[in-house]
């Protein structure tokens, strides 16, 4: 170092931190770059594209249960529509049966629809930007 030489702290600090970035840039390919292929294969690889899916990941059990409810509703409707039985049964018996099956169908359908709605609901806000910056993001 040269004695008495004036220095510019701004230049020295800028040079130091730029050198750190350059060192990182010259590092060999890291796992991060390998991971890019996984992300790109996941669907939207462009910044402006929509994310692959906003639906939360639910277990297959929900889908199967919802499908079973719809099937049960269909069976109930088919039971009501059996031509031979409808011709012989008394009107009041048929009416009571219709009410029971109707309620069953209604209950199961409402449940099934709500399950489907849940499956397509918005992604929960798990991660956010901390602090005041988030408030400004919302504006």
């Amino acid at each position: 170092m040269e004695n008495g030489r004036r220095i510019d702290p701004d230049i020295l600090l800028r040079r130091h931190f730029s050198r750190e970035i350059e060192e990182e840039r010259n590092l060999p390919t890291s796992r991060v770059q390998h991971a890019t292929t996984d992300v790109e294969q996941d669907g939207a690889s462009r910044w402006n594209d929509r994310p692959p899916s906003r639906a939360p990941r639910r277990s297959a059990w929900f889908q199967e249960a919802a499908a079973a409810a719809v099937l049960a509703a269909c069976v109930g409707a088919a039971f009501l529509a059996v031509p031979g039985e409808s011709s012989t049964a008394a009107p009041e018996v048929l009416g009571a049966k219709a009410v029971i099956v109707g309620r069953l169908i209604e209950t199961k359908l409402v449940w099934a629809v709500s399950e489907f709605a849940d499956m397509r609901g918005p992604e929960p806000q798990g991660f956010g930007i901390p602090g005041r910056f988030r408030e400004k993001e919302r504006k």
């Binding site: 170092m1 040269e2 004695n3 008495g4 030489r5 220095i7 702290p9 701004d10 020295l12 600090l13 800028r14 040079r15 130091h16 931190f17 730029s18 050198r19 750190e20 970035i21 350059e22 060192e23 990182e24 840039r25 010259n26 590092l27 890291s30 796992r31 991060v32 770059q33 991971a35 890019t36 992300v39 790109e40 690889s45 462009r46 910044w47 402006n48 929509r50 994310p51 991660f127 930007i129 901390p130 602090g131 005041r132 910056f133 400004k136 993001e137």
Partner: protein, 178 residues
């Protein structure tokens, strides 16, 4: 100074690979200010931050500069990593991050000015080191550096002023001793 508006326009057409290529080195360099992180931790943090940024890209406003938004995510990921329960800080990663490029360290030693600044920065208070990294390394303006770190702008300005004074004083002290 980096043109943040141009960054944002550029990033509007960015894909994930480009995001990594452009921002991984900057994020990794920024992570050096978090001294509790090992090289492996830093790589994990940068990967995590890139994934988070990609997942949250629809929340990014292209009218705003990208760097503060992204570096806030990096910072959050780094602090999460540091706060992870059961995490052990290895002694070798507390003091300084060794240069990972073969030969670069020797070059820095030859360059006494660079070596002086490296020692000075390593001895800085962690918060001051982060501010200097954001302003001088990431080219953030004072307001963006303040927003990223959650420190008032006036404090950022004052701290940077103090850092400059301390650097000059330390330089003069070292030269005066020789």
């Amino acid at each position: 100074m980096r043109d943040d508006a141009a960054d944002s326009r550029f990033l509007a057409h960015l894909d994930f690979r480009e995001l990594c290529r452009e921002w991984r080195p900057r994020a990794a360099a920024y992570c050096r200010v978090f001294r509790g992180l090992s090289d492996q931790d830093r790589e994990d943090v940068v990967g995590e931050a890139l994934a988070r940024a990609w997942a949250a890209r629809d929340r990014f406003d292209p009218a705003r500069p990208f760097a503060p938004w992204f570096l806030t995510i990096v910072r959050r990921a780094a602090l999460d990593a540091l706060a992870r329960p059961g995490r052990r800080i290895s002694p070798e990663c507390v003091d300084d991050v060794p240069s990972p490029v073969p030969g670069a360290e020797e070059a820095a030693v030859r360059d006494s000015e660079a070596e002086f600044v490296r020692r000075f920065v390593a001895a800085l208070d962690p918060r001051d080191r982060e501010l200097a990294s954001l302003v001088y390394g990431q080219d953030l303006c004072l307001a963006d550096a303040a927003r990223t770190t959650g420190i008032p702008v006036g404090t950022v300005k004052w701290r940077l002023h103090e850092i400059r004074i301390a650097l000059r004083r330390e330089w003069e002290r070292e030269n005066g001793e020789r």
